[in-house]
Amino acid sequence: MFFLKFVIKNIFRHRLRSILTIVGVAVAVLAYGLLRTLVGLWYAGVDRASDTRLITRNSISLIFPLPVSYLERIRGVPGVKKVAYGSWFGGIYIDEKHFFANYAVEPKSYLELYPEFVLPEKEKSAFLMDRKACIVGNRLAKTYGWKIGDLVTLKGTIYPGQWEFVVRGIYHGADRTTEERVLLFHWDYLNEAVRQTAAGRADQVGFYIIGVTSPAVAPDVAVAVDALFKNSLAETLTETERAFNLGFVSMTEAIMVAIQIVSYMVIAIIMVVAANTMAMTARERLGEYATMKTLGFTAPHIGGIIFGESVAISLAGGILGVVLTFPAAHWIEVELAQYFPFFSVSRETILLEMLAALTVGVVSGIFPTWRGSTIRIAAGLKRIG
């Protein structure tokens, strides 16, 4: 108890220095936590992918379409339960800054394959019945203040023109990780318009989504589907939704690796700063440690006091950093909703933040602890006066 009190008193001996060190550790821990969350979110799409969904696309590239006529042949593959299809529309709302994903899909099967898009039955029916209808995610609707019945106009980029949709439903995600910033409309609506303006591009889809009976059959179904269209004009590449999403993520992997390195660097820098502070602190008190040794205190006693102070400062910074992580994450979620639809800090991140703070305390305390506990009494006493 006395030693704990002593350690706390020592921490506040140089109040400003200790507070600055604690704040420094807190900022580093906060930065580490936010960067780690960011990296985690980047891979969230991979994590939330279903094991029973496959994506089939043109084997050359995603930008090349597939004929809609493949639908029935895919349906006939053993193990296939349901098939939906769609195309990336790439429409712009107001201007490029207001980006959100928008797809033309075959609505009925699509919604059956994505039960995580939770839509009231009434709105679902209204959406399915109206060809000009669209459904939007709750967050997207909130961002632009859209309500049921509102007219939304997108400027086509891949499919030129002004495209009008009536909002017939607002879906909610089944959990926090479900994407709620998507607009979905009828592929038929798109196809009919394309047939009139660019007939050569009609009856084409960007991708098929295949629901399989169980995860175990997924590899066989993928092979069977691709075998169906081997040596055709549009060969297919079928992969699990997870692999498909991972393909997107891997395109930006270098950036993610860089962010991860930066997050570790932040911790390393604060470790050096904290080590310097602790070394300075221990050096100033060598005379006191020598005095304590004359009284009979041994190296482990002295070492414990210095090490305890180092760890206590870092843990205080760690706790402050963790506490700040939540409002910071909330702020990001609210203010940068366009880029981060949800910014949820995981329990694992919190634990890693505290572990990082503890590591800073331990590493920065090693040298001062060794120095203070091994000081020769006569040499230490000469520092007083």
Partner: protein, 225 residues
């Protein structure tokens, strides 16, 4: 039958290394200190008096020779053994008091007792007793910075005697004090010898301080005169 001396020093030598140079500080010193003695060690700077005091107190290691304190040969003890021995047998009084600034007078005095098995209540009783001996009961909650130099040295003396050691070593205990405070401290040390039977070994430059001692020994160039 006469009582054996509390300190027996034989052929004690100590030198320091400065780069490639070896500087002898003490050369084959032998002498005894009787129990209950108030000894002043005097000598010019660099004569080795502080080194001798440190060796007797077990905070430095001799090159050769032996030091027996109350029958214990301390030159053969390891650093940890010496730490335990110091905790129970020697009290230290320093020129600059060496109090821990973040601890109150009470806590500073309590410090050596943390190494004992005494309960909190027993520690409190011991601390209050010694603070009353040095006349600082009313200042026990003050921090060193809130005390005068003389009061700080009295706290340091209380800390030195709280474990009831037989020997007190004092390195220039009045060196940082004004005349009046120095007198107070010397009187207190004299009281510790006469009333409480302690053995005090004091290094000093000050002839007035040496006058208070019962015996004065001079060191010159590492040798006792």
């Amino acid at each position: 039958m006469t009582e054996p001396p509390i300190v027996e020093i034989r052929n004690l030598s100590k030198s320091y290394r400065r780069g490639s140079q070896i500087i002898p500080v003490l050369s084959g010193i032998s002498f005894d200190i009787a129990r209950g003695e108030f000894l002043a060690l005097m000598g010019p700077s660099g004569s080795g008096k502080s080194t001798l005091l440190n060796l007797i107190a077990g905070i430095d290691f001799a090159d050769t020779g032996s030091i027996q304190i109350a029958g214990v040969e301390i030159t053969g003890l390891s650093e940890t053994e010496l730490a335990h021995w110091r905790a129970g047998n020697v009290g230290f009084i320093f020129q600059f008091y060496n109090l821990i600034p973040v601890l109150t007078a009470f806590e500073n005095v309590e410090l050596p007792l943390l190494l004992t098995h005494l309960t909190r209540k027993e520690r409190r009783e011991h601390v209050e007793a010694v603070l009353s001996v040095v006349g600082l009961t009313d200042r026990m909650d003050h921090y060193p910075a809130q005390l005068s130099g003389g009061q700080q040295q009295r706290v340091a003396i209380a800390r030195a005697i709280v474990t009831d050691p037989e020997i007190l070593v004092a390195d220039e205990p009045t060196g940082d004090l004004d005349r009046a405070s120095a007198e107070e401290i010397l009187s207190l040390m004299d009281r510790l010898v006469t009333e409480f039977g302690k053995t005090v070994i004091m290094v000093t430059h000050d002839p007035r301080a040496a006058e208070k001692a019962h015996l004065v020994r001079h060191l010159e160039k590492g040798e006792l005169q």
